[in-house]
Subunit: 364 residues, 2 copies
């Protein structure tokens, strides 16, 4: 079992990586001083529940914990205020109190939703993440939780750090291949923004990761979380540095919004967005190799690098106008200036972004 | 103009008390470094809006601020997730960004709702309170914000401190007399929990306060905020001391829930609850004068001290079971042990509380 500490002063917490952690959940809760006097609430989704929920409930029961469970529909639509309200109903009926813990068993959607429940139920209770996707290695570090609004993603939320994260590698075996690929997109992003050596390692271990070879998977997740953890430790509330984690997200979020949060998986949209940022870099005078190398590594993992041709450029540009990264009217963009290094550029011209979007559609 | 600083380290903020502060709002925002590059959002209710909204908008316009406004129906029902969602729609359409400020112009309902919008919009933006009720002197200190759930009050929320509070005494002149009386209930509570001298002052200045005599009003609000501020500064997240602010609230919240949040104003329900706590104290062996003195001062202000006879004891007891103050199953009660001094008692027997509720109905 690997262990990583996310260093946030008195809000620091450990991430455990290993096989069979769900079976050990009760013991790990006891070890971390989580009381069994107050009930736990497990939030999961309809895809994950049949595989792992009863195992997790049994593990808790064996250590003397009472649990209630709530299963949301799979997919981004569950990140809503109405789901939050439903979960609070279940929490109240189960008698959750201020010493209770809310547990997210699932991917990023469940993590964001359950995390916001934990942040806001009785103005904040404890939170533990048990991610079941590769993509969730990203959302499990940093404490960003929240739900969507019909006009914008992730617009209602909080910063709420978990008590711990249990990354059970066994849960990743039930993932569809497309989700494995999409999940690795954020792992590659962590290399691109911070760590050229990690990119070289990813280049060497592409096949090991795609086939979920345990040692490679464990290291890749550890290192992805580690990069994110370093960045978040230095800027928990996203005042400056933390924004580099948004590489690929300005265009990526717009693509998700325009395609109705269905056609593209988050990691796929971000992959296209990262190629767009690299294109922008070249237009701004940085070396063309940044673009070619970014595109090469993403393609090697089977990730898309081009905007689907039927998506409308005007709609994509409009979607960006609702993005949180438009601070005081000016357009902020994270741009790679070398492999493993990015800069946050303010006042990037919308005209140039539009050109990049058009080129991304035509794969110029 | 009086000024009080709520001391919370890097989250400290000032409360200004004075006549005509709404007219000075733009200048005070500029003085406090609130940018005019990003739009402001004013949240108010249909009772307050006709009196003060256009004055406030003009004051901001005169200092170069753009504003959007949202008017909710008056009353507790507006503290809902659906109102939150509506306000976020308006915020997005008005182009509010991470440098924007949300302003609560109104009483406790508007403050709690707008405060939770500020806490959760883009994971947190700035917040300013402009209270228009006496009761709001209580909610304007401490950073507790949130909305109700159909099963429980204030169950979904956050701690989010304002940048500042502008207490314009002129706005209090439009309050119905019953709301003036009810608002003074929390002011008396601040005396009962912390400051016997303040209780003596309240006893002397009862008529000055009920007639809104400016100097008495300004001092009473200042001292009420001051007591709360001292308590909150020592325990921002309600780990221990802060719970003393809940004097009268366990029974009070149950009365509000059972009477459908309509029959009793919050301050009235709390008044009855405080008499109940004093009764409990006597049952637990403390001096009977605590009960008589508590009841006398509340009656002198015209506040109710008895549970309306048609309310059902079983329903009142059930409503308490959903209260946040039931920590890990045991019943926590704030009990006066002298005038100006309280204790937090754990494991108070539900049987005894039931007896007190019955006596409060019969005015024994």
């Amino acid at each position: 079992m690997r262990e990583l500490t996310v260093d946030l002063g008195d809000r620091s917490y450990p991430i455990y990586f290993g096989e069979g952690l769900i079976q050990q959940a009760g013991q790990l809760f006891t070890k971390h001083g989580i009381t069994s006097k107050s009930p736990l609430l497990i939030v999961t989704d309809e895809h994950v529940a049949p595989h792992y929920l009863s195992n997790l409930e049994s593990a808790f029961a064996a250590s003397g914990y009472r649990t209630a469970s709530y299963i949301v529909p799979a997919g981004e639509k569950s990140k809503s205020l109405s789901q939050l309200e439903e979960i609070v109903t279940v929490a109240l009926e189960a008698g959750l109190d201020r010493s209770s813990t809310v547990i997210a068993l699932g991917g990023g959607v469940v993590g964001d939703l359950a995390g916001f429940v934990a942040a806001s139920y009785m103005r904040g209770v404890k939170f533990v993440q048990i991610p079941t996707t590769i993509l969730a290695h990203d959302s499990s570090v940093g404490g960003k939780v929240g739900v969507n609004h019909v006009l914008a993603k992730n617009i209602i939320g909080a910063f709420h750090q978990p008590e711990m994260v249990l990354y059970d590698l066994n849960t990743l075996r039930s993932l569809p291949y497309r989700e494995i690929v999409a999940g690795l997109s954020e792992m590659i992003k962590h290399g691109l923004i911070w760590d050229a050596e990690f990119i070289a390692w990813l280049d060497e271990h592409t096949q090991h990761l795609l086939t979920l070879e345990p040692e490679a998977l464990s290291y890749g997740l550890y290192q992805g979380c580690n990069v994110k953890s370093i960045v978040v430790s230095r800027d928990e509330r996203e005042n400056d540095l933390r924004a580099i984690l948004n590489l690929g997200h300005t265009i990526g979020h717009a693509l998700e919004a325009v395609s109705g949060y269905n056609e593209l998986l988050h990691g796929e949209a971000i992959s296209i967005g990262m190629v767009g940022s690299a294109k922008l870099a070249v237009h701004l005078g940085y070396d063309a190799s940044i673009y070619h190398e970014t595109k090469r590594i993403l393609s090697k993992f089977g990730l898309p690098t081009q905007i689907p041709t039927h998506l409308n450029v005007d709609q994509i540009m409009n979607a960006m106008m609702h993005d949180k990264k438009f601070k005081e009217g000016s357009m902020v963009f994270v741009v790679p200036i070398a492999i493993g290094q990015v800069e946050i550029l303010k006042d990037v011209s919308a005209q140039l972004v539009r050109q990049v979007v058009m080129e991304l559609k035509e794969d110029v």
